[in-house]
């Protein structure tokens, strides 16, 4: 029995328990029309019974799914022949892995020991599933029996059901916090393992980044160098280029849509910006590589400049346009939130529209705009696909926009794409970078969101 059929079984159980609970309540209340004798509507007794029937098996199922593989493998390892038991833990893991691979393949492996172990593994899995379905049915039946005993006319079924729903709502809103905590825990856990090999100060202030993988332990230079300054400078350079495009274009276009445009033009201009926001970043990356980079190169060469094939300028320019909608929509919101009375006062004194926009509205909307810009910077720092495709891999500590630089996100991607073990410093370095990225963007987000919100409250 596989997981899907167990879930289907539970769904069937829920429906059955619902019908059963409802009819039980109706019978106790004195027939279909006599719900007035009951504390709650008959349906609530049904929901209550269904919850009783489904929740305990679901909990067991979750626990089971989390631990099944580990328990089965431990049982399998215990039952192996002695010469296999004598293997080192690493080799045993390798063997168990080949058992799992053989089990998922259709053919029987040639090695008799492996074949026997695979058979054993499969049969353990089968009995585990049967045990689980048995347990689920027993628990479900027990739940229904408990519901049967507690259902009587004065039973407050609605309150019980509503409490359960309320707990679900609370749990659902907890998921966001759990995700944040999960990111911090998971990434710092791996990052801490990295800092056992590489000192924090070398990582933060080192100026060389060359994470070569050690193929053999005794290899010369196997350690690799993990100084992240060149990555930070590269990230910063590309973000600065992007913001140099996004801030003026974003704010000025927001000025246009908020201050100048008629309703009709506004209805035309906003969607253009929204489409820009909706284009996936991989498309921007492709565009940067295929069109913008060669174009910049041609122009640069005609001016006698030496332009790298993967220049920071190409990635930054395209990223800038990607961020324009973010800056412009947050600025637009901030500008339009400035009270009309302030604007009208300036108009009555004879100010031109540009004077109103620049001298009155812009300062008033500044906190909101600054918040938007901070969020945009966070976006630029965390953007991955454009730089993976259009920026280089060479970790140059350089601020020349025509040179090739690399970024934090590019390095995370290169270190983690493809198969790799979880233990090498090379892989773990990616998590240290991820932690830095998460902390920097979180700080920017929190400050930026704070600006946006405080500003909203000021004029509300």
């Amino acid at each position: 029995m596989d997981l899907t059929s167990i879930l289907l079984l539970l769904a069937g159980l829920a429906v059955g328990a619902f019908l059963f609970g409802r009819s039980r309540a109706q019978a106790l209340g004195g027939g279909v029309g006599a719900a007035r004798n009951l504390h709650s509507l008959p349906d609530y007794y049904g929901y209550f019974a269904a919850l009783c029937a489904v929740l305990p098996p679901l909990m067991v199922l979750t626990l089971w799914a989390a631990f099944e593989e580990r328990v089965v493998l431990a049982l399998l390892a215990n039952g192996l022949p002695d010469h296999l038991q004598a293997l080192s833990p690493g080799q045993l893991d390798l063997f168990l892995n080949s058992v799992r691979n053989a089990a998922s393949a259709a053919s029987v492996p040639a090695d008799p020991v492996l074949a026997a172990a695979t058979d054993e593994y499969l049969s353990l899995g089968r009995s585990s599933r049967w045990l689980l379905s048995g347990l689920a049915v027993v628990l479900g039946a027990g739940g229904v029996a408990a519901a049967w005993r507690s259902i009587h006319p004065a039973f407050r079924a609605r309150n019980r059901v509503e409490t359960a729903i309320r707990w679900f709502l609370i749990a659902a809103s907890g998921v966001a916090v759990l995700t944040t905590v999960g990111i911090l825990l998971a990434v710092s856990f791996e990052a801490l393992r990295f800092f056992r090999d590489v000192s924090l100060s070398e990582f933060l202030f080192g100026t060389t980044w060359s994470p070569q993988a050690a193929i053999r332990d005794d290899q010369i230079g196997s350690a690799g160098r993990f100084g992240m300054l060149p990555l930070l400078s590269g990230t910063l350079l590309i973000a600065v280029i992007a913001m140099a495009v996004a801030i003026p274009v974003g704010i000025l276009s927001a000025m246009y849509t908020a201050e100048y445009a008629s309703t009709r033009v506004r209805a035309l201009a906003r969607p253009v910006l929204e489409i820009l926001a909706g284009i996936p970043t991989v498309v921007y990356g492709f565009f940067a590589v295929l069109m913008v980079a060669p174009w910049i190169r041609t122009i640069g060469e005609s001016l006698g400049l030496n332009v790298a094939a993967e220049s920071a300028l190409a990635a930054g320019l395209v990223m800038g346009f990607m961020i324009v909608p973010l800056v412009s929509s947050l600025s637009d919101e901030a500008i339009r939130a400035v009270p009309a009375s302030i604007r009208e006062g300036a108009e009555a004194l004879g100010a031109t529209r540009s004077e109103i926009a620049l001298d009155i509205v812009l300062p008033a909307a500044m906190p909101g705009i600054v918040g938007g810009i901070l969020l945009a910077v966070s976006r630029a720092i965390g953007e991955t696909m454009i730089v993976v495709m259009a920026a280089g891999l060479a970790a140059n500590l350089s601020f020349n926009p025509l040179e090739s630089v690399t970024t934090v996100t590019v390095q995370i991607t290169t270190l983690l794409v493809g198969d790799q073990e979880f233990d090498s410093a090379r892989t773990l370095a990616a998590f240290a970078l991820g932690l830095v990225l998460f902390i920097i963007t979180m700080l920017l987000n929190v400050v930026g969101l704070g600006y946006v919100r405080r500003y909203r409250e000021r004029y509300e």
Binding site: E69, S173, T281, F287, L290, V324, S328, F431
Partner: protein, 414 residues
């Protein structure tokens, strides 16, 4: 005095015009950028929707009379013989090798399928359309310079000559590129398609929807309708708003460590991808659902409470049905963002070379944006064309999702 005021006024008006011009220009620059992107994608991708085929006469390939046992036939040789017959040449071994480069490796399979599907005898005037190789495809579409030095173009003089002859004979056709939509990935550009990637994307989207929608709406309901205004609720709100702005690659790291390493879920599986995208979409859904719920008038809640409904009944009977269209709209927009997401999928190993269409959520799969990333990396000209075509398909999907959202919004506003 008057002159001073007038000149200052002129200066002020000049400033006004400059500023206004700058504002208009920045909107135009953004629009121009959009046009250039879309234009270059269309220009480059449109040709990928057609595929060059060579139609070969059947009698030249197969012996007359009863067909031999299909397992014993050398279809590769048969295709080359037919090409040679068509071109009226008698190729030596070197020429045969060049001839082979004109047709796709799939040609022999097309011929075999034809033989196996037409039992018994061959019709004497039938012909079979076999796919041309990517190089020929590019030549027919005029994608490379024929006058370039022979070592700087992919086809030899002889091959170009043959192609011209085939065109004169009317043996070359451009048909709709069905392979693009029915095949998985392939090393051969002319056989590479997006079906497997699209299927992977759709599977992930379903998981994302199934996980993120109920949790997101439930969280929004709690925060708007039940949550006490306390410090930890503020923390909750902050963490949701922050998550909406956390780089997507970080969610990929979370998936890699927690789902794959700790919980032992399979690598490259749509299940893991869908869960990661669900976490990514969740804040978007929560934020949009909250504003949808906030937009429901308080009077409705009060009337319902006044009639004796419990708070949970107020929510489920009145608030949610009223807010649902806006919630659905926000969800679709969140999902369309998830659909185009690439970076977190790279982290969880969805970059493998996948030929087969995934049949379940634990099969190895890839996603459409990842396929685009992989093809964009291939040096062949033919893959660049397909990348653009795949992007057009992706944008088409996103556009229809957004149109759906807009349609729902408009229907409700009426």
């Amino acid at each position: 005095m008057n002159r001073v005021v007038e000149s200052r006024l002129r200066r002020r008006h000049r400033r006004e015009r400059t500023f206004r011009g700058l504002c208009v220009a920045s909107v135009l620059v953004a629009a121009l950028f959009l046009l250039v992107i879309l234009g270059s994608l269309f220009r480059q991708g449109a040709s990928a929707f057609t595929q060059t085929r060579i139609s070969l006469p059947v009698p030249a390939m197969l012996p007359a009379g009863d067909l031999p046992d299909s397992g014993a036939m050398d279809y590769d040789a048969a295709v080359l013989d037919a090409l040679a017959a068509l071109l009226a040449i008698d190729p030596d071994r070197a020429e045969r090798r060049e001839l082979r480069q004109l047709v796709s490796i799939d040609a022999a399979f097309v011929l075999r399928d034809y033989v196996e599907s037409s039992p018994g005898r061959v019709v004497s005037d039938a012909s079979v359309r076999v796919p041309a190789s990517a190089k020929v495809d590019m030549a027919i579409k005029g994608e490379f310079d024929r006058t370039a030095a022979s070592d700087r173009r992919p086809l030899s003089d002889l091959q170009i000559d043959w192609i011209d002859r085939l065109v004169e004979l009317g043996a070359i056709e451009r048909t709709f590129n069905t392979a693009l939509f029915t095949n998985g990935d392939s090393r051969e550009p002319e056989l590479a398609g997006i079906r497997a990637a699209l299927m992977g994307s759709v599977l992930m989207l379903l998981i994302t929807l199934a996980v993120a929608f109920p949790i997101g709406v439930a969280a929004a309901v709690y925060l708007e309708e039940f949550a006490p205004r306390r410090a930890w609720i503020r923390l909750l709100e902050l963490s949701i708003n922050n998550l909406a702005a956390v780089p997507s690659i970080v969610f990929g790291l979370l998936g890699l460590v927690v789902l794959i390493d700790w919980l032992g879920m399979p690598r490259s599986a749509p299940l893991v991808g869908g869960l990661v995208l669900a976490l990514l979409t969740l804040p978007v859904i929560v934020i949009s659902s909250r504003s949808a719920i906030r937009a429901v008038p308080t009077s409705i809640r009060e009337a319902s409470l006044g009639l004796g409904a419990s708070r949970m009944q107020v929510v489920s009977h009145h608030v949610l049905p009223q807010a649902m269209p806006a919630i659905v709209t926000g969800t679709i927009i969140g999902l369309s963002r998830a659909f185009g997401e690439t970076a977190p999928l790279l982290m969880i190993g969805m970059v493998a070379f996948i030929v087969d269409v995934p049949s379940g959520v634990t099969d190895p799969a890839t996603a459409l944006p990842v396929q685009i990333y992989l093809w964009a990396d291939s040096p062949e000209r033919a893959f660049a064309e397909r990348t653009s075509a795949a992007i057009l398909v992706l944008l088409g999907f996103l556009l229809s999702m957004n149109l759906l959202a807009a349609a729902i919004r408009r229907k409700v506003e009426k």
